[in-house]
């Protein structure tokens, strides 16, 4: 090999190696690819250096070109990044740059998050959002705080355990109320005895209540008090709900009898019938013609307390029903009551209220009974017929 050829080979080989080196490093710096620039601002760059990686979705996609300290206090450190053009479609206006560390001892790099689909594209040289880096010192400080508080917690637990130990020792020794309860057999025996006695007392109280009910029934028929019930028109409030329904059937009535309360009742507030004869037409119609359902619908005028008036209308409907059932022969399970309470007065002379007897043709479905009223005694009373009526409807 001639001297010149040898020299040429040497120079060519070393320049080739040099070029390779330049390309290896240059490709990392994106010197030979089209790039665009982005900026991010941080309070602290945690030792990030120029030439550090920029990763988008964990893929090396650029380098940190420069890191500039601010010119004034209060401003932030600006990191200028060269990014590969291919990331332009991923990084959007809402992408966030953060400084991360590769492992515990590794290099710092900038990670940029993907943008949302709806956001606009970033411009060359734009400043994107940033997230402060996780500093080792901060982490250690937090860990220290956590250790402090957990130490405190452990101390508290130790104190609490000591208390529990002291308390359980006392219980074991029979000191105090709980100790006595746990350790004193006598106390347990007393308690059992008390319970037994209490049970007997309860039984006695129950029979007492039954007696009281009987007494009350007797009282109602006593001549001194019977006047009150007579004037009121009915004896037992529990009966009010016996044949009550919640609403009118949807079918059209085949016959309607309308009365005013003044025609039928003694006083404005009472449910005592006065001119029973007026009901004869209705009673005769029910007795002579087959029907599916008849409803006695009672409403009162606008005067008086709403709740009381509702009870009054229910009572009046019941009283009318009792009269019709007692004096005319028909299937009384088909006759129902509906107290409407206060309703607007339609025609004059009906300010005490209105009574309608609506007769529905055969085949009309009987509406469900009214919901159990608030009072428990009423509830028990209305429960049984409710079931009965439900049975009658399901077996036509």
């Amino acid at each position: 090999m001639s001297r010149l050829a040898r020299l040429g080979a040497f120079i060519f080989a070393t320049l080739a190696i040099l070029a390779t080196g330049v390309f290896i490093i240059g490709s990392k710096e994106y010197l030979f690819r089209s790039t665009y620039q982005l900026k991010a601002q941080f309070e602290n760059v945690a030792g990030l250096s120029e030439g550090a990686d920029v990763q988008v979705g964990g893929v090396h996609s650029g380098t940190v070109k420069s890191i500039d300290l601010p010119h004034k206090p209060g401003e932030k450190v600006t990191v200028l990044m060269d990014l590969d053009k291919s990331t332009h479609e991923i990084i959007k206006q809402d992408s966030v740059a953060s400084i991360e560390t590769e492992g515990m001892l590794g290099n710092q790099y900038v990670a940029i998050s993907f943008g949302s689909a709806g956001q606009g594209e970033v411009k060359d040289g734009q400043i994107i959002g940033s997230q402060p880096p996780l500093l080792m010192a901060d982490m250690l400080k937090k860990a220290n705080d956590i250790l402090d508080s957990s130490q405190q917690a452990v101390q508290n637990v130790t104190v609490a355990t000591a208390h529990i130990a002291s308390v359980s020792t006392k219980i074991d020794n029979g000191d105090g109320t709980v100790g006595a309860l746990v350790n004193d057999k006598q106390l347990y025996n007393n308690l059992e005895q008390t319970t037994t006695t209490l049970h007997a007392t309860m039984l006695q109280a129950q029979s007492g209540v039954t007696d009281f009910q009987e007494n009350m029934e007797a009282l109602k028929h006593n001549f001194l008090l019977s006047g009150f019930f007579k004037r009121r028109g009915y004896e037992n409030e529990a009966d009010l709900a016996a044949n009550r329904i919640d609403q009118l059937p949807t079918a059209t009535p085949s016959k309607v009898f309308t009365y005013t309360a003044k025609q039928l009742f003694d006083t404005r507030e009472a449910a005592k019938l006065k001119n029973q004869a007026s009901l004869k037409a209705a009673g005769a119609f029910l007795a002579d013609n087959p029907f599916g359902l008849a409803v006695i619908e009672v409403s009162s005028g606008m005067e008086g307390d709403t709740k009381q008036e509702l009870v009054l209308t229910e009572a009046r409907a019941m009283v009318i029903r009792e009269y019709l059932v007692d004096n005319f022969g028909f299937d009384d399970s088909q006759l129902r009551t509906l107290g409407m309470g206060k309703q607007p007065v339609v025609n004059s002379g009906a300010d005490w209220g209105t009574i309608k007897i609506l007769v529905f043709p055969a085949g009309t479905e009987i509406p469900p009974p009214a919901k159990p009223p608030v009072s428990p005694s009423d509830g028990i009373a209305s429960d049984l017929p409710a079931h009965a009526s439900a049975d009658s409807t399901s077996k036509p």
């Binding site: 040898r6 020299l7 190696i17 040099l18 290896i24 490093i25 710096e29 030439g51 590794g106």
Partner: protein
């Protein structure tokens, strides 16, 4: 090696043709003579540098001699430099592994090896090896030409010895040192990888990727091209020492020794300044 090598004695003064007889005898006071000699050496070097520079930039150019010197300095030194670089790479890989393993940070070994080789070890080793091989060669060659009065003969035949002998050699050193450094770096990194993969297998590609992670051209090019300064120092010192030789065979030997010692010393000293300069300018 003796004291004369580092602080040149008065008789090592530049043997500038036409001026050698102009120096009067020196007073025999050792300390004054040493200090005086030290400054005279630098003065002579400055004068020599100026003459070489003036001769180098003016035509005619000695292309043929330059190519001969490029081959002598460059391609002839390649095996030596590559071997030295490879040894350094392997040694670094082993050393760094043992120290990094203590911190459980062997994963940064490629970076450590690549950085060490490219930033410092490659350039320095190349400078020292070349100053040993080429410095001694130039020093001895020119010194023997000087003592056998061949340089005078060249001058008589209307050829400027500064242009023909000195400038070609110095330029060859300046041009070849960076290329030799690249070769040393390459063999160092390669052997670093071999030494690494023998202990803990890793692909060459992965080694290169992790080794160059986070590096920029600033980390690669300035350390490589600073060796041109090493080349200048080696060529200049060796030519200067060779062309100012006096005496017979003893003078030739002294010139060769002084060339190597002073060139190596100045290469290392210059490296201190250059590293600082690169850090200031490029970071």
């Amino acid at each position: 090696m003796n004291g004369q090598a580092i602080t040149p004695s008065p008789e090592m003064l530049p043997a500038i043709p036409g001026h050698s007889s102009a120096h009067p005898p020196r007073p025999a006071i050792p300390t004054v003579g040493l200090v005086n000699g030290f400054f005279e050496w630098f003065g002579g070097l400055g004068t020599f540098s100026w003459r070489v520079l003036r001769a180098a930039v003016t035509p005619p150019y000695e292309w043929r001699e330059l190519i001969r010197q490029l081959d002598e300095v460059g391609s002839q030194s390649l095996p030596l430099v590559a071997l030295a670089g490879a040894a350094v790479g392997a040694v670094l890989s082993m050393e760094v592994r043992s120290s990094m393993a203590r911190f459980g940070a062997t994963s940064i070994l490629p970076s450590a090896v690549v950085y060490s080789v490219i930033q410092e070890m490659g350039p320095t080793i190349t400078g020292l090896v070349v100053s040993g091989r080429v410095g001694a060669g130039i020093g001895a060659e020119l010194a023997s030409m000087k003592v056998t009065e061949q340089i005078d003969a060249i001058e008589v035949s209307a050829i400027n010895p500064y242009r023909f002998l000195a400038s070609t050699r110095i330029l060859a050193c300046i041009l070849m040192l960076p290329l030799l450094t690249v070769a040393a770096d390459a063999s160092g990194v390669l052997m670093g990888w071999v030494a690494q993969t023998l202990v803990q297998p890793i692909s060459f590609h992965q080694f290169i990727v992790t080794g160059f992670a986070g590096s920029t051209l600033k980390d690669f090019l300035p350390p490589t091209f600073k060796t041109a300064v090493f080349g200048l120092i080696i060529g200049l010192v060796a030519c200067f020492q060779g062309m100012r030789t006096r005496g017979g065979a003893e003078g030739v030997g002294r010139a060769a020794t002084n060339s190597v010692v002073l060139a190596s010393l100045f290469v290392i000293l210059a490296d201190v300044v250059l590293v600082k300069l690169i850090l200031v300018v490029f970071q």
